[in-house]
Subunit: 138 residues, 2 copies
C-alpha cells in the first residue's frame, strides 16, 4: 500500500517539503514554530515499526529539523529556547514526529504544546509565507 | 565534567539499569509504565548536542525500551496500546527521553502524560518490585 497522509494531519498542517524519508509539515498554529515529520511509508504506528536503516534516517531528519528550526527561531526573535520532540499518536495512529521550537514566553511554557488551549491558524498569506521561510531555513 | 543525574530526575525516579549510553530510570508514578533514558554524558540539552554515533545509540535504546515496555505492558494486562516518546526538557534541562506505555483506559488518555494531574508514587516495596520486573523485561 502506498503512503497516504492521515486526514487529520492533512487538515491541520501545510506541506513544507519531502525529505528522503519524511514528509515535512508545518502545523497550522501560529502560537508555536511547529513541524511534523511523517515517514512516507504505509502501516507505521510505532518507532519500532521502522527497520533500522529507516530509524537512523528518521533520527537524522529529526535532528536536522530541530537544529535548523532553533536557528530560524533565534534569528527571528521567536525564542528557540528549547526544542521539544514528541512521538505520541494517541489520536492519529499514523507514525509522526512533532518538532516544536519553544520560547520561555510562549503561551504554553513550560507545559508541552500538545493539547494546550486552542490552536490559532495562520491567515492564508501568512501560512504561505511561514511555509516558504521555514522551507528555506530547513 | 563527569555525568551527574539532575536532582529533579533523581527525586522523581528509581534507577533500573545502565545501558551502553543511557541510565534507564523508572518514573515513580504508578499511573503509567514510564521509563526515562538519560544519556550518561555531561552538558547535553538537545538531541543534536549528541554526536552522530551517540544519537544512533540513543535511537537504538529508545526503540528497545519502547518495544519491550509495550510487550511487558501487554503481558501484564496494562495496555500497551501506544508508546509515547517525548524529549521535552522545559523544566529539567539535562537531556532525557520519556518512553511511556499508554493504555486507552489510563487516567490521561488520549492526552499526553506530561503535566497531567498529580503523580501517584509507588509504595517502597511496590517500587522495588516494579523496578525488578521492568529490568527483567527490558
Amino acid at each position: 500500500m502506498s503512503f497516504v497522509l492521515h486526514p487529520r494531519l492533512m487538515a491541520d498542517t501545510a506541506v513544507i517539503v519531502d525529505w528522503t524519508l519524511s514528509r515535512v509539515l508545518l502545523m497550522n498554529d501560529k502560537r508555536f514554530p511547529w513541524i511534523v515529520l511523517v515517514p512516507r511509508r504505509s502501516e507505521l504506528h510505532e518507532l519500532f515499526d521502522l527497520d533500522e536503516a529507516a530509524r537512523a534516517q528518521l533520527t537524522c531528519e529529526i535532528t536536522r529539523a530541530g537544529a535548523r528550526l532553533r536557528s530560524w527561531a533565534r534569528l527571528r526573535g521567536r525564542g528557540g529556547d528549547k526544542i521539544n520532540v514528541g512521538i505520541i499518536g494517541n489520536l492519529v495512529p499514523q507514525l509522526h514526529v512533532h518538532v516544536v521550537s519553544r520560547c520561555k514566553t510562549d503561551a504554553a511554557w513550560p507545559a508541552p504544546v500538545w493539547g494546550f488551549g486552542r490552536s490559532e491558524p495562520y491567515g492564508a498569506a501568512e501560512l504561505m509565507r511561514a511555509v516558504g521561510e521555514i522551507r528555506d531555513a530547513l
